[in-house]
């Protein structure tokens, strides 16, 4: 558990970066600090491991005052992941990961063995071990950064915009993998980001900070979306709140109807609807065929497919169910099961009915 107790950072010229912050990051959970530039989120994070020393107030690490020991000893117990990874260019990947164990005096062989384990854990091939950071892409370097932070198995991890410097596709992957990892490890994590969507996706609880270092609201993501405490938070959380909140509600069982299909490599049937769904051998949807484009009896091939529609998983969120309907070229949302096989299709109207039912249920 990490607790900010009246923590303040005031600079000699009078600027107050963090103003008497009171905040508790519970053990085993991800607490995200989010806010606009100048809100003191990074400063607050860096006060935990004393990269910035608080001007007044205390920061507690469970029952210990972080100021009660030398800074470098404190930091060796806390995992630290930063935006550009900050890997040591002159050391191999495995030695980078083993940095803190080396500092703690762990036997080199043991430390390296553990580093190899972590390398695989963050999803990197063991062949990367002997490489140097310059040979890795940004995303790969970030994974190493996370592995490095985990090497000494610290109970606490601090992460300062760790995924901001990579491209959106990689960022998405890293976020998903991070959640998976946290599911396995259960660390106490304080995470800073300027991206409200990332905060909502990753946080167990989210702290929204105001410029000048004040805490505006501390709440679980769903609550933040549905009940922002004031205009600032509402504005910061942004538009489409209602829509994004759907991402937190399970659709339950989506009512579906059977959807006619044609397999890849078969010839198109005559008649039927304007749009036909194509599936592969195992029944997984591949895309839509626009029958009026194709000649009679043409064999179904890849280039003919319209891939615009997203897929909703049975038992997934309302948001993905609605999106499947909205994005489908045919207007019918494709629903699949966990193994990717077609279950059936649904329509926007039906999903909206589900949504309204939930809203009514919540209101009454």
């Amino acid at each position: 558990m990490i607790r900010f107790d009246q923590a303040t950072k005031r600079y000699p010229d009078g600027t107050v970066a963090v103003d008497t912050l009171e905040l508790e990051a519970p053990s085993g959970k991800i607490t995200v600090l989010v806010g606009p530039s100048g809100c003191g989120k990074t400063t607050s994070l860096r006060m935990i491991n004393r990269m910035i020393e608080p001007t007044s107030g205390t920061i507690w690490l469970d029952d210990t005052d972080t100021a009660s020991m030398p800074a470098h000893e404190l930091r060796r117990q806390i995992g630290y992941v930063i935006q550009h990874a900050g890997l040591f260019p002159h050391r191999t990947i495995v030695d980078n990961i083993a940095t803190v164990p080396f500092l703690l005096g762990t036997d080199k062989k043991k430390a390296r063995a553990r580093a190899m384990e972590l390398l695989e854990r963050v999803g990197l091939d063991p062949a990367f071990a002997k490489r140097y950071p310059a040979q890795l892409s940004g995303g790969q370097q970030q994974r190493v950064g996370v592995a490095r932070a985990l090497a000494a198995d610290p109970p606490v991890m601090l992460m300062d915009e760790p995924f901001s410097a990579v491209d959106p596709v990689v960022r998405d992957q890293l976020q998903d993998e991070f959640l998976r990892l946290q599911g396995e490890l259960g660390k106490t994590i304080v995470f800073v980001t300027h991206d409200i969507d990332e905060a909502i996706k990753l946080g167990d609880q989210v702290a929204v900070l105001r410029v000048g270092g004040h805490l505006a609201q501390l709440a679980a993501p769903a609550e933040l979306l549905s009940r922002p405490v004031d205009a600032f938070v509402a504005g910061f959380v942004g538009r489409d709140r209602g829509y994004r909140a759907l991402g937190f509600s399970s659709a339950g069982t989506i009512p579906t109807r059977d959807e006619p299909t044609v397999a890849m490599g078969e010839s198109l049937p005559t008649g039927g609807d304007e749009w036909l769904l194509a599936v592969d051998g195992s029944g997984a949807p591949q895309g839509w065929l626009h029958l009026t484009d194709e000649p009679h009896g043409a064999v179904v091939e890849d280039p003919m497919l319209y891939r615009g529609g997203t897929l909703a998983t049975q038992g997934g969120t309302l948001r993905s169910a609605l999106d499947a309907c909205l994005s489908s070229p045919s207007g019918r949302g494709v629903v699949i099961d966990e193994s990717g096989r077609l279950v059936g299709s649904t329509t926007a109207r039906e999903v909206l009915a589900l949504i309204e039912a939930q809203v009514e249920g919540a209101v009454t």
Binding site: H72, Q77, Y80, H84, A85, G86, P89
Partner: protein, 257 residues
């Protein structure tokens, strides 16, 4: 003239020493000696100072002062120092002339080593330094385990530059009774013995080249491959998907080619 120079250099009597005249081997050794002493002293002064200034960011004015020293007229300073220092030494000793010479050479060698060491440390990526402290390294640990190894390319560059300057300038020792390869240049000019003079110049150039090659070799084996980029497979081009399968496939493919 080229023939005369060749003849001068290949004349064996020029390579050995008599009691009256010093030959090429001994002048070469003397020249190397002057150089090594100056470089050793300069390293001891400039390296720790550069590391400290780079690490703490304090007293950067020292760098400016050192760089200004590069503009000193070496022979002028040398004669001035000899006039001040040499009268304190009696009898058959070189020290009255060696000490001023070494002072001038050290003044020449310190600026490149100092400013390059400082620049090397300063140029370490801020995120790397931040991570080093964040991991829990103490100040000295950050300096010696992270900043210094990453500064080595620039430090070597400064040291090699200093070495070349010292070897080239150590010829001034000949102006003040000492030996070294400058003897052939100075004597050759005064005696209008141009083959001797040119040979002296060639020998200095050859020494400088060999020294730089040796240092390049040392640099190769000391600087981490992670910094120089001298790594076996340049995989930087393929910034493809990060999934494990993709990575493994990359590996297999590049192994096959």
């Amino acid at each position: 003239m080229i023939g005369d120079v060749f003849n001068w250099l290949t004349d064996p009597s020029h390579w050995t020493s008599t009691a009256f005249d010093t030959g090429i081997w001994d002048q070469l050794l003397a020249h190397i000696g002057f150089t090594l002493i100056a470089l050793a002293i300069s390293l001891v002064i400039a390296l720790p100072l550069g590391l400290w200034i780079g690490h703490t960011g304090k007293a950067t004015w020292i760098i400016s002062v050192a760089n200004a020293a590069r503009a000193l007229p070496t022979v002028g300073v040398l004669v001035l120092l000899v006039v001040i220092i040499a009268p304190h030494f009696y009898g058959r000793t070189n020290n009255g002339y060696l000490i001023p010479t070494e002072i001038v050479l050290v003044l020449l060698a310190v600026p490149p080593i100092l400013s390059n060491t400082y620049a090397g440390v300063q140029n370490v990526e801020p995120s790397v330094r931040d991570a080093a402290f964040g991991m829990g390294m103490t100040g000295p640990q950050v300096l010696f385990r992270v900043e210094l190894p990453n500064s080595l390319p620039l430090i070597f560059s400064g040291f090699r530059s200093a070495t070349l300057q010292v070897i080239a300038t150590a010829t001034i020792a000949a102006y003040v009774t000492l030996g070294g390869l400058g003897r052939f240049i100075y004597d050759g000019l005064a005696q209008q013995d141009y083959p001797q003079m040119i040979s002296g110049g060639l020998l200095v150039a050859a020494l400088a080249l060999i020294a730089d090659l040796l240092l390049a070799l040392v640099q190769r084996y000391t600087v981490s491959r992670g910094i120089t980029g001298r790594t076996r497979r340049q995989d930087r081009g393929s910034r493809g998907p990060d999934s494990r399968t993709a990575v493994l496939t990359e590996e297999l493919v590049s192994e096959a080619t």
